[in-house]
Each structure stands twice: as structure tokens, then as C-alpha cells.
Amino acid sequence: MRPLIDVWRSATSRLILIYGALFVVWSVVLLGAIQWESSRYLNHVLDQIVSQRMQYLGQMDVAHLPQAVDAAGTLDPHGIMSAGLFDAQGRPLAGNIASLPQGLVADGRMHLLPKGVPRMDRLRSDVSARAMAQRLPNGELLVLAKDTSTIDGLGAIIRRTLLWGLSLTVIPGLLGGLLLSRGPARRIREIQLATEPIQRGDLTRRLPVSRRGDELDVLADIVNTMLGEIERLMGEVKGVCDNIAHDLRTPLTRLRARLYRAQQQLDGRPEAELMENCVADIDAVLTRFRALLRVSELEDRHRSACFSEVDLERVLHQVHDFYAPLAEDRGLRFVLELAPLAPLRGDAHLLFEAFANLVGNAIKFTPSGGRVLLRARMERNGPRVDVLDGGPGIPAGERDAVTRRFYRGDNSRSTPGSGLGLSIVSAIVRLHGYALEIGDGDGGGACISMHCLAEPAIEAA
């Protein structure tokens, strides 16, 4: 049985997650572009302001210049705008710049100074700045700089906006997606539950179809149509099979009766032996037909009202008593190991039949001197019964096939039998909702385990 579907693994959830991720990437790209464009524009405006001021100061009378440069500094209480006048040797003459910024070329163009401008008041020395330097006709150097904190501030605002935007859209989006995917997940779960009996072979079941007519309903409808067709075909195949077995039984039984009568009349004459062999052959065919019809009968049978409390220990004792003489005659040890078992609901006769088939097979495949073990103990869901033989075992590849009708493994071709024993067992196991497991025994032989349930698992059909 597959585990039930997980909401997180549903297609809707996956789509929502992919969509959410794409949305985040797109938002980041979009806001990044906005930030880049706006900082570029702001830088441009800033550069223009600085150039204009530079132009104004550059044309000023040299005598008034230091005063004007100082005034430019004091006009800027926030320390955003810096101005400085240096002599030809680079010593500061006026303004609020402590020393010539390194790497600044006096070419009258804007330069980005990542380390900012060394200011007298040591304010904001960590902020990068855009600066311009121009040599005056008297050899002095005029430096103007504006730090970029306003532009960085803009970046911070945009990043904050991005975070808010994302949390206000992505989180409700994910929650909404989760809620949305719960509906389909619930319906898939319903479908999953409905298919369990179908997987167990009950082809009369159908998937639930709602009145909405959505894509899941269309799918369920298609599956239901296919199931109907499979059921019809299976029924036809089984019907043909059963009819052949059934119709041939009547003439075969008559033929057997005639041959038997002839055999008795010929008693003592050499022809009697021929007749006897014919009767034995017909008996073999009839036995096989009986087994075949028995499998169909068990498969057709739905959960029966005849289920009652079964003392499994008693059933297993009966099986042991029934087969112990045969095992002894074959020179085998037939061991019964029983732990105390809880009673279960089932059909005692059918369970006896199932264990009888398993034990019969085990005895058939165990060579003389070997051991057959019938063992039962309680497990979590109910009793577990193992039948271990000392035969060649069942190869892993054949384990599914052995419960099919008429399947006989290579190892069993030389032994007589209808090849239907395990089919009968698996039909009985299915009828009870139990599980059959075919594995290896301790001694190399096969171990066939029946996992019974204390209470029947399938609801009454």
C-alpha cells in the first residue's frame, strides 16, 4: 500500500512554490532596476549641482574665495556637502576638508571616492563621496565633494520596500496556495482510499466522481470506464474458464461412472487394469476442475456473513493432527510451535483449508529427513502464521507468480498436484483481508507467512 499523498508534495503546492520563487526573483530584478535607474539620475543631479557650484566658485575673486569656501562648509550642517581650498603644495587654506583626498585628479570632472573625504569635523568619514577638484589660475586647488548617503538611503528605502512587498505577497500567497492544494489533495486521498480494494482485486469498486465535473472528475471518469471494461473482460475470461470446467465435469463424471462399472464387471480380467488407469486419469482431471472452480468460487465470494470467532490455535492443532501421519510416513519431522494467539473473526473451515494447502505443499517439497515447521505468534495487528519447509525454496523472481492459477515453478514440475493450491490459499487470504508473504526459511527452504488480522480489515460488501 502506498502512503497517502502529502499536501506539500501535491502538484498545486509545487506550482505555488515555483510561482513564488519566480515572483521573488522578478521583484528583486524590477526593484533593482528601479534602484539603479534612480541612483543614476540622482548622481547626475548631484554632479550638476557640484559642477555649478564649482563654476561659481572658480570665477570668484581670489581674495574672497577662502571666505566663500568656508561659508559653503557652514551652510551644510548635515555634513553632506564638503568644500576645501588648498595651496599649490596641497596644504589646506579654507573649508572643511582636512587634507587632499587621495586619488583625486584635478581635472574638473566628477570622481567617486569610495573612502569619502577627510573632513575637519571627522563627520561621516566612512561614507563614499563624489568629488571634483579644479586648479585655479593662481595654482591653488579647489575641491568640492558631496557624500552619497542620500543615494544610499534611497537604496535602503527600496530594499525595505522590496522586503515589505515580498512578505505581504509571498507569505499570503504560500498560505493561499497551501489552502488551495488541500482541496485536490483531499480528493486524491479519497481516490487513493477508493482504489485500495481495487488494487486488492475487487473490480466492482469505482472511483468517487463529484458533481463539479472538474479535471479530477474527468480523470476519475476515464479510470472508471476502464475499470468497467476490465471487469467485463475479466468476468468473460473467468466465465469461459468456469463454463468449460463446469460443462466438462458432467460428461466426465458420466464417463467415469461407466468406466468404473465396466472395471467392476471386468474384475480379475487383464482389461480391468486398463479401466482402472482410465478412471484414475479422469479423477485427476476432475480434481483439477474442482480446484479451478473452487478458486473462482472463493474469488467470487464476498465477505461472508458466516464469519465468526475462530480459535486459530485449535485450527492449527487440527492441521497438525491431520498432516502429522503423512509427514511421519515421508520420514519428515513436522513441528508445531504455537505462542498464545488471540481469537480472530473469520471462517474456520476456509482457514483450515488454506493452512492444509500450505502444509500439504511443504510436506510435498521437503525431502525425506527434512523438517516442516508450522509456527504461529502474535504480532501487532494480529497472529502471524509461518509454514517453513525444507525444500528447495521459491526463487525471488517466482514469488509473485506462484499464487497465480496453474503456475508451477521449475522446482515443482516433477511433483504431482494441480498447481492451484497457492491460488486457493491466496483467494482465502484475500477474502479475509490478510496478507501472504513468501520468503526464505532459516534452513534454505521456503517460508510462507500469513499475516492475519484480529479484526477483518475490509468492510462488509
Binding site: A257, V279, F322, L326, D347
Partner: protein, 225 residues
């Protein structure tokens, strides 16, 4: 001579049953419908009824229910083409005494009739006797020629069934159904092994064999001819 009422709508099957029963020394009357059969049975005088499960009009189950309601306790062998497990249970629950599935071997049908007749004979004694073999039904003990036999419970039940029906050929299926109480095909050799064990305890050396194998049919317990 036992009188048997055969209620069966199919003429071929009915003739087959009547012939086979006659061959076993029984007188058989045939009724073709459920109503006619019920009338005959109510009139009395029959030791056993073979009843088809599927009859037109009044079904086999209806007939047997009506019979039992009228307190007519004649043993009934149900014969049916329906072999389903539940069908057998339903037939027996309605009041049938044994159940045989079509198609059947005529000799097995006759054997089942005889077993039913024996079962319904009043048991005068608490002991069964066949030649020098004795069985105490109360104390569950058996003797051969005065020597007590040590029998396991299954062996005792098997011997009791054979002795109650001594002289009668019993098929392996019948033995399995009566002694073990199960209704499926257990494969022939298991029953043979059980008979073999019982035989080793009863047919001791120097005594005539009492358990006989009937080829193609089954077993019979009877004094040596």
C-alpha cells in the same frame, strides 16, 4: 427394503438416481416438482429423500423448510449444481442432512444415501460390532478379538465412522467430511495415510483383514469374505 423419494426435475438425472438406488437394493419413487414431492413426503412412508436444490416453482430450500415445519424429520440429501460454500451451509441450515454437488458419481450418491439411512436408524446398543472388532460408543474404547486397541482420538472417530457404515463403500471425500468435518478436496494421500495407520492397529498379523480398499472408490470395513 428402504424406500427413497427422489425429488428432481431433470428426467435424466432422476432416472440415474433411481437406477443406482435400485442397484443398491432400495425402492425409489420419483417426484418431478417441489409441490408433488412435498405431497408425497407428507404422506409418509419414506426413509429418505433426495432433493434437488434448483426446482422450478418451489425450490429445494422451500420444500425442506415446509417439511421441517410440518415436523416431518425424514433425512434429506440435498443435490445441487450450486457448489458455493455458502450454498452448502444454507442447504444444511434449512434442515438438509447431507449435501452433494452435481455432477456426482452415482455410487457416491448411493453411498451417501446409505450412510444417512444408517445414521437415522435407532441405535439399540452402545456397542458396534463387526466380526471380532468391537467399539464402545460411551467409553470410546475398541477391541479386536477381546484385546483393547490403543487409538488416538482421530483414529477412534475414523473407526467409528467405518464401523457405523460397515459393509458400505465410503469415498475419501465422505470420510474427510464426516470424520474431520471439512468440505474441500484435501488430496487423496492424506486420507490414505490415516486409513493405513488405523489398518496397522486393527488388521494385526494373523487376523483376517477388515479394512478393504475399493479401487477407484474408497474404503470399506467388513468381515473378510
Amino acid at each position: 427394503m428402504p424406500r427413497i423419494l427422489v425429488i428432481e426435475d431433470d428426467e435424466v438425472t432422476a432416472r440415474e438416481i433411481v437406477t443406482e438406488l435400485a442397484a443398491h437394493g432400495m425402492v425409489a419413487d420419483w417426484a418431478a416438482t417441489g409441490c408433488a414431492g412435498l405431497e408425497c413426503a407428507s404422506a409418509g412412508g419414506y426413509d429418505l429423500i433426495t432433493l434437488d436444490r434448483m426446482l422450478p416453482g418451489m425450490s429445494g430450500i422451500d420444500v425442506i423448510t415446509a417439511l421441517r415445519e410440518r415436523r416431518i424429520e425424514t433425512p434429506v440429501l440435498m443435490i445441487s449444481a450450486l457448489s458455493e460454500v455458502d450454498e452448502r451451509v444454507r442447504g444444511l441450515r434449512a434442515g438438509g442432512d447431507d449435501y452433494l454437488t452435481k455432477p456426482f458419481a452415482p455410487d457416491e450418491m448411493a453411498a451417501r444415501v446409505e450412510v444417512l439411512l444408517r445414521r437415522h436408524q435407532p441405535q439399540a446398543e452402545n456397542r458396534l460390532r463387526v466380526a471380532d472388532l468391537e467399539l464402545d460408543l460411551v467409553r470410546h474404547v475398541a477391541w479386536r478379538d477381546g484385546q483393547p486397541l490403543s487409538l488416538l482420538p482421530t483414529e477412534y472417530r475414523l473407526l467409528e465412522f467405518l464401523m457405523r457404515n460397515s459393509g458400505q463403500v465410503l469415498s475419501r471425500t465422505m470420510i474427510f467430511e464426516h470424520v474431520w468435518g471439512f468440505h474441500f478436496d484435501p488430496g487423496t494421500n492424506v486420507i490414505d495415510v490415516h486409513i493405513g495407520r488405523l489398518r496397522r492397529k486393527i488388521d494385526v498379523a494373523g487376523k483376517p483383514a477388515l479394512i478393504h480398499t475399493v479401487r477407484g472408490s474408497g474404503y470399506r470395513l467388513a468381515p473378510a469374505d
